[in-house]
Symmetry: C2
Subunit: 362 residues, 2 copies
């Protein structure tokens, strides 16, 4: 078992990675204590992995709340269903919400835990690569609003993140690829050598070789934990973890949540960010080629849908990274180094979206 | 102008108290900066005090969101209305929500600010005595759930609390009395000399003598700020500020939110807590008399409604202060000193509720 500690002042959040961890009674007992438990999962994941978690919980009773599967259900209504279930079960402030599933389940259950009785404990048990390397780590929780992704949310650190890598065995290829987008993003913003390693290991990762997967998860978590430890609430440096996400959120909202997977939209967004970095004179053109090529090899879309330039600009206007009216984006200075900045030519952005997203509406 | 600083590690929240502050352009400019502003108020307070705030904001544009008046509107639906308005106005992460009103407006607007884009700035402008001495101070935000009060919420410190004591001039007597309940509570848990001062000043307070009101607000805020500074998230000592609130919440939920004012329910709850403290051998019987007498002189109910013992016990069972299945209550050791404890005889509680709330249902 690999262990990473995300340190946040006096608090810390252990991230544990290994095979078969969901069934580990000692580990689950250590992290759940004697709390009342509610397991939140979805109708796809629960049949596959809830039996193993039940084993890990060693016959302890818990309340279940199963949501329908999919990003389109990442709504305030779903969070409210969990809260209703917590009230119904008369859970007290000392209870724990266990999120068993991908990023959507982790974000909704985390938000319900953040707001039930002004915050109860949450244990993240991510079952998708994307959640294991990104969304379950760092305490961002939230749900979507018709006006944009994650517009309602809270920062709420989990008590622990326990990643059972066996869960990747049942993950559809498309979701594996979406997770690789966030692994590649972590490398791009912080570690050029890790990016080069991914270029070498991409076929092993696609073939789900365990040692390659554990290596990628571990390093992506280390990078994220290091950045979040310096800036938990995204006042500054943490923003670089949003590489590709402003464009990605615009794509997701523009298409309607759930059409593209989050990681797919982020992949196309990363290419746009890299392209804009090059057109702003920050990044060498050859580096854009490496970025595009690795994402394509990972089975990800590297061009945005043709939503139209003006629609994309409007969607970017509602993005959380707008500050004082100016759009801030994460741009690359090299492979392994990124900056969140409003310092890029507006016309370069417009031209880029003209070229890639089309001039007209869909 | 009086100033108290609530210190929370590196953060701090200034509390400013004085006449005419809503119209102070310099003060408002200092605390709002150049942010996009949304003013949240209700249909009762806005006609009275929004014109003065408009003067203080010196012609700056802001978006308004007016909610209906009353505790029955302290719902997730109201918080969602604010968030919808923030999205609609395309407010970014650097915006500020200004709560102009009593505890209900402050709690809902604070919760919307806590969760919009994972947290934006909130300025509290309390216009009721209760909000000025208690609910606007300390960062508790939230809304009610059919299953109980404040079951959905967040800790989110305001950027500042600005109390214009002129607003008390338009406050109905019943609301003034409700606010005095929280002033008396602050004295009971932390400062016996302040309680004695309140015994002397109660007629001046009821006559709304400015110097008495400012003195009471200032000392109640100091007490609360001192306790919150030691325990922002209510892991321990802050719980004593809930004196009377477990019973009070049970009364409010049992009657239906909005029937009794929060302060009225707390007053009856404080008497129950004092009575239970005496019956558990913690508090002298004469002290219970002083507590009951001051609350009665303040125009507050000192007996609970006859909801019935069993209903009260059930309502207490869902309270946030239940831990590991045992009911914890705030009890008085003397006037000026309180403890949050599960150490009281269960049958004393049952007998007390029998005597005061009745054996049958309403």
């Amino acid at each position: 078992m690999q262990r990473i500690d995300l340190k946040l002042g006096a608090r810390h959040c252990p991230i544990l990675i290994g095979r078969g961890l969901l069934a580990s009674q000692a580990l689950l007992a250590e992290h759940t204590g004697v709390r009342q438990l509610m397991v939140v999962s979805n109708e796809t994941v629960a049949p596959l992995w809830l039996p193993r978690l039940r084993e890990g919980l060693a016959g302890r009773s818990f309340v279940q709340c199963l949501l329908p599967d999919g990003e389109q259900h990442k709504t305030l209504a779903s969070a409210t269903r969990i809260i209703d279930a917590l009230v119904e079960a008369r859970m007290n402030r000392d209870c724990m919400v266990i999120a068993l599933g991908g990023g959507v389940i982790g974000d909704i259950a985390g938000f319900a835990a953040a707001t039930y009785q002004r915050g109860v404990a949450c244990l993240q048990l991510p079952t998708t690569l994307l959640a294991q390397v990104d969304s379950a780590v760092g305490g961002k929780t939230g749900v979507n609003h018709p006006g944009g992704k994650n517009l309602i949310g809270a920062f709420h650190q989990p008590a622990a993140v326990i990643t059972d890598t066996d869960t990747l065995g049942t993950l559809p290829d498309r979701e594996l690829h979406a997770g690789l987008a966030e692994v590649i993003k972590a490398a791009l913003v912080a570690d050029g050598a890790f990016f080069a390693w991914l270029e070498q290991q991409i076929d092993a990762l696609l073939a789900r070789k365990p040692e390659a997967l554990v290596g990628a998860i571990r390093r992506a978590c280390e990078i994220k934990a290091g950045i979040v430890a310096r800036d938990e609430r995204e006042q500054g440096p943490r923003a670089i973890l949003n590489l590709g996400h402003s464009f990605g959120h615009a794509i997701e909202t523009g298409l309607g949540h759930g059409k593209w997977l989050h990681g797919e939209a982020v992949a196309a967004g990363i290419v746009l960010a890299a392209e804009l970095s090059a057109r702003s004179g920050r990044l060498a053109a050859a580096e854009v080629g490496r970025v595009r090529s690795l994402l394509a090899r990972a089975g990800l879309p590297v061009d945005p849908p043709r939503l139209g330039r003006d629609r994309m600009l409007a969607l970017l206007g509602m993005d959380k990274k707008v500050e004082g009216g100016r759009l801030r984006l994460v741009l690359l200075d090299s492979i392994g180094s990124a900056t969140c900045t409003a310092d890029f030519p507006r016309d370069a952005l417009e031209k880029l979206l003209d070229d890639s997203a089309g001039t007209g509406a869909t």
